[in-house]
């Protein structure tokens, strides 16, 4: 099978590895780099669990080939927290508001919302619901996820003020 050697930055660390050209970025992150925080659900772009940030923009890791991440910077859920001791405000708010139940959708929710709150720091609940409309939570815990996002947005606005 055709493979290519790729170099990319993931969560601030430079990696170089061999990737089959048909391998998507999600499998590369999990299988080759061992970063299993990114979850793979549907693998055809519908469930949103595998969402990661590519050069700071939320993308589906199942719809980008690993070889397309050559020389790019990827941030996964493992890279959201500012330090090993502190949580990202979204992560802290998800904990406080029971925003995770089984946790499968959480990495995709967090990465999607990270970009969303950068673009829209003072959202309405309705805007949050639309923002996560491409992220399926099979526990249907959307109310707590929305509540957590509103709290995180408040905390981030206060920290920036």
């Amino acid at each position: 099978m055709s493979t290519r050697r790729i170099a990319l930055t993931v969560n601030g660390t430079r990696h170089e590895a061999e990737a089959p050209v048909r391998q998507h970025l999600g499998d590369f992150l999990r299988g080759t780099l061992g970063l299993t925080g990114t979850h793979l659900g549907c693998e055809h772009g519908v469930c949103g669990a595998c969402t990661v940030l590519l050069d700071g923009r939320a993308i589906r890791a199942c719809l980008v080939l690993a070889v397309q991440a050559e020389d790019r910077a990827v941030t996964t859920v493992e890279g959201l927290a500012p330090s090993p001791e502190a949580l990202h405000p979204l992560q802290a708010a998800f904990c406080a508001n029971h925003g995770l139940q089984c946790g499968f959708c959480t990495p995709g929710m967090l990465t999607t919302l990270e970009e969303f709150l950068r673009d829209c720091p003072d959202p309405t609940e309705e805007e949050v619901r639309v923002a996560i409309s491409g992220n399926l939570c099979r526990c249907t815990g959307y109310d707590s996820i929305v509540a957590a996002t509103m709290e995180a947005a408040r905390a981030m606005r206060e920290a920036a003020a």
């Binding site: 055709s2 048909r22 055809h44 772009g45 080939l65 070889v67 397309q68």
Partner: protein
């Protein structure tokens, strides 16, 4: 859910990409742009290209330019790059509204406008915009460039006038004059889902009457198109609630839906009526 094996090419120049496409098109070689339709189709094994020619590394293809009364959208312009502030006048506001209806945030950051046009899904919002506004597609190959008008470009369900060796190198849309009124409505079961029916209406008003009307319908027939009967009904008339209702009903009567979903004609009529009402600034449920 893994794509079948293929050969991957990452050309560094557009000329190299076109040469690869000319060489590999006969062997099912395909352009890979945003990949938000092609890659899932490959994962589901309904598309099996033997070669992918990835244009994401090509410089200068992500330009959004305005000049000579036209907006030119390059082949690597992502949905998310279409913003009100990047396009002047009513066209900017129109495209901004439409963008919000395209899939979800992480799809819009990656998927491209030209990719949607080349994919030609009947429910695609950008295809509806191109068909309604009279857009033109720039097709490029080793053989040269040619412009294809929207009405010739969309040829049926996911079928376009592009030849296998042609890259869709741009969408050209006419910039709308100040004062142009427009409305866009779509119905989908969930936010970001494929539309069940979508309509775009554009009205040019003069002294309280409709001087020219463009009404488009998408997601109902095998391709998006304008609705000339309804447009004719509105032309040179003052917009009233009754007239708009009548135009939407007229439009419904001319539709040939591709399926026998009994709700579709009613949904089509509703989105047309709402798009017209928004364009005319009339409250109409």
């Amino acid at each position: 859910m893994k794509p079948p094996p293929f050969h991957y090419h990452a050309p560094r120049t557009e000329a190299e990409a076109l040469a690869l496409l000319a060489e590999l098109a006969p062997e099912e070689g395909r352009i890979l742009a945003g990949g938000q339709s092609l890659v899932p189709a490959m994962a589901l094994r309904v598309a099996r290209p033997s070669h992918l020619i990835d244009i994401n590394g090509l410089p200068g293809l992500d330009r959004l330019e305005v000049g000579d009364g036209q907006l030119r959208v390059g082949p690597l312009v992502r949905h998310a790059m279409i913003r009100r502030e990047s396009v002047p006048g009513p066209l900017g506001a129109l495209l901004d509204k439409v963008r919000g209806h395209i899939a979800h945030l992480p799809i819009r950051t990656r998927g491209t406008v030209c990719g949607s046009l080349a994919n030609a899904d009947p429910a695609s919002e950008w295809c509806l915009v191109a068909a309604t506004l009279g857009g033109a597609m720039l097709a490029r190959s080793m053989r040269g460039d040619r412009m294809i008008a929207a009405e010739d470009f969309f040829q049926g369900f996911m079928t376009t006038a592009l030849e296998p060796d042609e890259l869709l190198a741009g969408l050209h849309l006419p910039v709308l004059p100040e004062g142009t009124r427009w409305g866009f409505h779509e119905f989908s079961r969930r936010a970001g889902d494929y539309a069940q029916a979508a309509s775009l209406a554009v009205l040019e008003m003069r002294a309280g009457t409709i001087a020219a009307a463009r009404i488009g319908i998408g997601a109902v027939e095998d391709r998006p198109r304008r609705l000339p009967e309804a447009e004719a009904l509105l032309t040179n008339r003052a917009p009233t609630a009754d007239l708009l209702r009548q135009a939407a009903a007229e439009a419904r009567a001319t539709l040939l839906p591709t399926d026998d979903d009994p709700t579709r004609p009613a949904l089509a009529e509703t989105v047309i009526r709402r798009a017209l009402a928004d364009a005319a600034g009339i409250e109409l449920p």
